[in-house]
Symmetry: C5
Amino acid sequence: MDDYDLLDTASGNALVTAIDHGLSLGATEGFRDPEATLRSVLDGDPDAILVGPHFARRYRELIANAGVDVVVTADIVTNSTRPGFDDGHDVWTPGFDPELLLELEPVGVKVVLVFGRDDRQLFRRNLSYIAEMAEQLRGTDVPLVVEPVMWGERVPAELETHPEYVARAARMAWEYGADILKLPYTGDVETFEPIVEHSPVPVMILGGPKSGTTAAMLTDVDGAIASGARGIMIGRSIWKTEDPTAVISALDRIIHERASVDAVWSE
Amino acid sequence: MDDYDLLDTASGNALVTAIDHGLSLGATEGFRDPEATLRSVLDGDPDAILVGPHFARRYRELIANAGVDVVVTADIVTNSTRPGFDDGHDVWTPGFDPELLLELEPVGVKVVLVFGRDDRQLFRRNLSYIAEMAEQLRGTDVPLVVEPVMWGERVPAELETHPEYVARAARMAWEYGADILKLPYTGDVETFEPIVEHSPVPVMILGGPKSGTTAAMLTDVDGAIASGARGIMIGRSIWKTEDPTAVISALDRIIHERASVDAVWSE
Amino acid sequence: MDDYDLLDTASGNALVTAIDHGLSLGATEGFRDPEATLRSVLDGDPDAILVGPHFARRYRELIANAGVDVVVTADIVTNSTRPGFDDGHDVWTPGFDPELLLELEPVGVKVVLVFGRDDRQLFRRNLSYIAEMAEQLRGTDVPLVVEPVMWGERVPAELETHPEYVARAARMAWEYGADILKLPYTGDVETFEPIVEHSPVPVMILGGPKSGTTAAMLTDVDGAIASGARGIMIGRSIWKTEDPTAVISALDRIIHERASVDAVWSE
Amino acid sequence: MDDYDLLDTASGNALVTAIDHGLSLGATEGFRDPEATLRSVLDGDPDAILVGPHFARRYRELIANAGVDVVVTADIVTNSTRPGFDDGHDVWTPGFDPELLLELEPVGVKVVLVFGRDDRQLFRRNLSYIAEMAEQLRGTDVPLVVEPVMWGERVPAELETHPEYVARAARMAWEYGADILKLPYTGDVETFEPIVEHSPVPVMILGGPKSGTTAAMLTDVDGAIASGARGIMIGRSIWKTEDPTAVISALDRIIHERASVDAVWSE
Amino acid sequence: MDDYDLLDTASGNALVTAIDHGLSLGATEGFRDPEATLRSVLDGDPDAILVGPHFARRYRELIANAGVDVVVTADIVTNSTRPGFDDGHDVWTPGFDPELLLELEPVGVKVVLVFGRDDRQLFRRNLSYIAEMAEQLRGTDVPLVVEPVMWGERVPAELETHPEYVARAARMAWEYGADILKLPYTGDVETFEPIVEHSPVPVMILGGPKSGTTAAMLTDVDGAIASGARGIMIGRSIWKTEDPTAVISALDRIIHERASVDAVWSE
């Protein structure tokens, strides 16, 4: 069930660079010139990039020429009604039509599943949407990637990567229809490995806002892969660095060749 | 009207083990490793298992090889927007498409009917959904199993299995379209028998959270069958025990052979 | 326009016994054993019974063998989210699909039109639903029976049968699409006759909760028929009595033969 | 674009008597016996009557025999959830299906556009509905008549016919899709003429609640026609009078023959 | 991807005069006589006019004879439920059917994207609508013009043209599906040029309420074109002037011939 093109690599893992942030943040620091950021990412030769469908359309030729696959984001989530601001509540809505998404020949379609909201109706719509999207993609060979996150007001920030929360959220995400999970990393192999093992669908990890050093991020990725994760979908920790191409190369060696962090990176 | 495959057993009764809890609880105590729990249940050889549709997809081969049928859960109900928590209000939403459900060749499709909610609009949608789902399944040979429960805030916990509530709820459930009822057991034959007798559709019982001993649960099941119930759809009281396979075997003898509780179980 | 099967009797009137109460009350006093109540009603040989569609399905053969027609209820209305309780506000929702309803070969489809609600949005949906249902049935020979009632919080109980309210409500009901009206009786010929005369569609009367004696009910029916009404759709005042069969017989003689109340009933 | 059947008269103007009030007021003073009111109106031989679609169905033969056309009302608007009452807020909802409306072979379909409501969501639905109905009728030869009115709580009663309000509302109504406007008359030619002149679609005037004398109403109609209006859709000021037939005759001479008010009426 | 008819001019730029204000303002100062305003605009021979679809229908021949293209507005936005008033909150709703819009053979379809609203649900619908409309137009050669504006209560008026807001809003607009952006001008080339450069889709500028002199407006347009913008969609600063035809001529020389403001205008 999981011989998806996305994971059809020599290692069976996939390095996906997320550059779909324009959908939620607009023109943001480090990503104001979309073509420049795209080029620096493509230069690193990731297996795929995660992009909005219209981003994929606008730069279709550039991406195709680089021989990089696309995973497309199907929903829209911002954190304010003001452009690119964060007012503490997500504004989530179904976004793009499956016909548009599939016309882009993606290797995956990505949606979020936001836990912890005060707005129960929005949560219900989010659940239904995942089930619907799973049904839309069933029968195609394009997997539905679900990203369960604890962004809601009812989950304190420090619990967003707590193993108990992540384990539960992961289970719910594939019970609702995920073919691949994009999970928060719990921080260590000991807690993450059972989550991966108990999942009948492949697990990848997300990045979140760039917070620490590149080395720390690489260490997390190394731990995730060691836990059995099949790759990453990380954005800001790549393109907010000084040399995205170099970071992707380092990630590539960890993810595909299981090189050690020390072997691939020194600050 | 009730020669459904599900009840087409030698005794005319059916033992269904419910393992659809991932939909609402996520990875929960006793069910963190879904394949392990599934295997321990299949080893007991129940007539069918109650599962979410994507659970059925992921473990389709394993289930088929065990020769066990599936009843699929069509809606999603959790008790919080936080993953697997209980904040005292159900978050209910229509879940999965009938096409997906039927593609799994189930012997039943299961939905809840939650009474007692403060949220009247949600209750209305629940009613409409049952009527719609009944219509979707009409003309197939797959029965609609409706589980009327008193989970809402307006019904005190101690009344959730009260005969008057259960009788009314049962009647409403089949008037709205149930082909089979999954009812709370009222606790004794005296009160449950008339409910079963007054129902033109087969009655099965649910388990609820594991609260007492296995022997107590078996005694309830024995009473339900003695009342005319055609079987059970019980989960936690099975897979939260130390030996689910043994519990299922004991249930099997009570349900199909009308063995006594004493004959099949000693703690 | 009104040569409906329902009214195609020797007298041109119809006696319909309403036994669709399970939809709103669940298992209720006097109607806990649905088959027993159904049999006692069928024994009286009414022209038709008013039932929920799934009730009609479950007892189809029994009803057909009795040679009694069915009018089916298309919507769901309860007075609480608790099963069969009355919390003072109606919970109304569109219920059953026209395809299901028509498959039952009914001689009428019945819906309510609830006036006086505080919830204006629900009222709007009720209005739209009647218009839609009328359109669904147009072109079939199945009439839409609309029952305009003053159940909302904004109409005091003592005005629910006031001639001015009934007259206005009746007019609105057929302007929205009713083919037949099921009206509250105003209590006397003087006030009810003009309402019937001013209606271009046939009028029948409803019963309401059994409140008085059978003789009083029969007197009301006699008055309604004298006012030009074409029959009744009454339930509780029939099946809550000791001998429903006898009450139906008495009603039959009043409605079809215009016998006097004294001639057909003595307590 | 405006050679509609409705305006295809010798004068190019049309006299439409509105008798669709049962939709909002139920059985109301002066219109309790719908057939009697209809006959008294038809006797006056107006060019058309404005009616609800089911009214048109019920009295189809009578209307057809009189050789009078129908304009049908497509939406439902009442002013209370109580039947025919006015609680100060309109309850508006889309009503009847275009298929039903067109099956009646109308010379126009009429909807309201209510300005000034506190309920912004209802206003939005009203706007969308007009645009949708215009699209449904495009390609038929049936014009959409939009009646923009200032009934909402936010417009004081004395401004409901203010030229500035009427001019703006008229413009918006045809920008949203009206083929013909049914406007409040502003009270004098000086202010009404520019509104008519600036409209690319024909203008007719509405009546409103009967408030003054018939002579005053006729004077208003005369002023409207003098301003370039192409006719009227007036109800209560006609059928609430003692002799509707006579009032219609008087209107006919003013509208079609441009007779003076004095020539056609003396109280 | 951007060889749209709209921009297929000698200069590659386009001068669009916006006269769709009747949709939101009704009959407004300077635009009370729609035909007169239209004629004065057509006399200036802009490349296209921005109009509501029914405006385009009513004056189709006049516009076609002038050889001027149309961009049509697809949604409805007013600022009050009172006609043409501004109560400080936008009332936005999807308006016109793509079939109607395309039947008018437009060179563009225009919608707004309003940032800063308190009403999050309305914002969500706005986002979804843009995505849907983009999908409806995909495969036609008609570009979707999105106008991202900061009208909501949460953005102070002085920030509506702030470069950071405009940059973010622009990015979001094309990520959601815009083929062409209609942006607020930030006031100087220094800040506007990077916004244009970072956009993979053509940028045009909007006008906003006429606030300054015509010379000031022309200077802004000149700056926008110097920044790489491909033209304008400006209304009130044109038709609220004494001589719209002359203003359009001046704009034409700036936009197409890159004449200086001084060369084309002196007050």
